[in-house]
Amino acid sequence: MMEFASVITGAVLLLLLTAAALRGWLASRPWGAGPAAGEEDTSEPCPEELVSRVFSRADWEFVRGLKAGGIERLFEQERKKVALVWVRQTSALIRKVISEHARAVRQNENLEFSTEINIFAQFLMLMAVCGILSAAIQLAGPLWLGGLASVAQRLSQRVSKLQETFQTVGLTNAGEAKSA
């Protein structure tokens, strides 16, 4: 009987987790929850301090010290909102980088298989991290997720740099082909 109850509890938990992850993944996509105006437009890069500020516990400690329930709730709501905007923006940026990369790849004859696999693996990992982050922010708020957010930020910077390197190599190759 106890075993059966454990199985049922496990299944329910698994279902809840899957639903949360799916919701988060959908929310991180532009056609999921629907981004606010300008979220897709990443014309100005995200400053590095943003992540440490949004996911900072120092602000939370300050708010908690005020001993005002209303302000604590407002803080949680507002930080959740900002964190979700940041996750959507990061997902949008990475999708943009990958689609630009795919366009460049189609025109390039000297592809390096290992580099391509590396970029694709990082893209997949980043999208998974964004999905998990989005779900976790909605469930628990951003205050416990600083580490994961830093991972997402580092990964997105690495993928952008890889893309820049790839573009530079592509341009050099194209220039050499033209001059030959």
Binding site: E44, R53, L74
Partner: protein, 166 residues
């Protein structure tokens, strides 16, 4: 709007513009030295800089600066200063931002309660966002100002200098 007259009198002020090549950095330093240093608090500086921007064209205008430099150089210097101060204030710890709001409210001519209510209802600080600013950073700024206003409103009104002396 501050010194934003578009009429012929405003244009005439630019006839004394120096012939030598002036840089945005020079105009920026001049702006910091003459105007921004006279304003206490980064939030008040941000609001001032945003108020030099025309709502319709998005161009910044400051007659004094344009008279000493050039209209386009003054515009760029104002934009640079606006952007820099915004980036600084948007990533302030919440506690520091609360201090900025407190300073802004207490330095204003209007009553503290009036300003707090109007800022919470009309959210005029949204106009202080520079153009094309990162969306997440803009959201953080707006959220933090909302929180800071709620915190300041909850705090007891600071005593006036004269009252504390008596």
């Amino acid at each position: 709007m501050v010194n934003n007259s578009e009429g012929s009198a405003g244009q005439a002020a630019y006839t004394n513009v120096p012939d030598r090549a002036v840089t945005v950095e020079e105009a920026y330093d001049d702006l910091l030295r003459r105007s921004l240093s006279q304003i206490s608090g980064d939030l008040a500086r941000l609001i001032y800089l945003a108020s030099t921007r025309d709502y319709n064209t998005g161009k910044y205008r400051h007659d004094g600066l344009a008279a000493r430099f050039r209209l386009d150089i003054a515009c760029k210097a104002l934009e640079l200063a606006h952007r820099q101060i915004f980036y600084r204030i948007a990533t302030y710890p919440l506690e520091r931002l609360v201090g900025e709001v407190e300073l802004y409210v207490s330095a204003s001519q209007q009553g503290r309660e009036e300003i707090l209510q109007v800022w919470q209802k009309l959210e005029p600080y949204r106009v202080a966002l520079p153009v094309n600013v990162n969306v997440a950073l803009a959201q953080l700024f707006v959220s933090n100002i909302k929180l800071a206003l709620a915190i300041v409103q909850r705090r007891p009104k600071p005593r006036a200098m004269g009252a504390s002396a008596s």
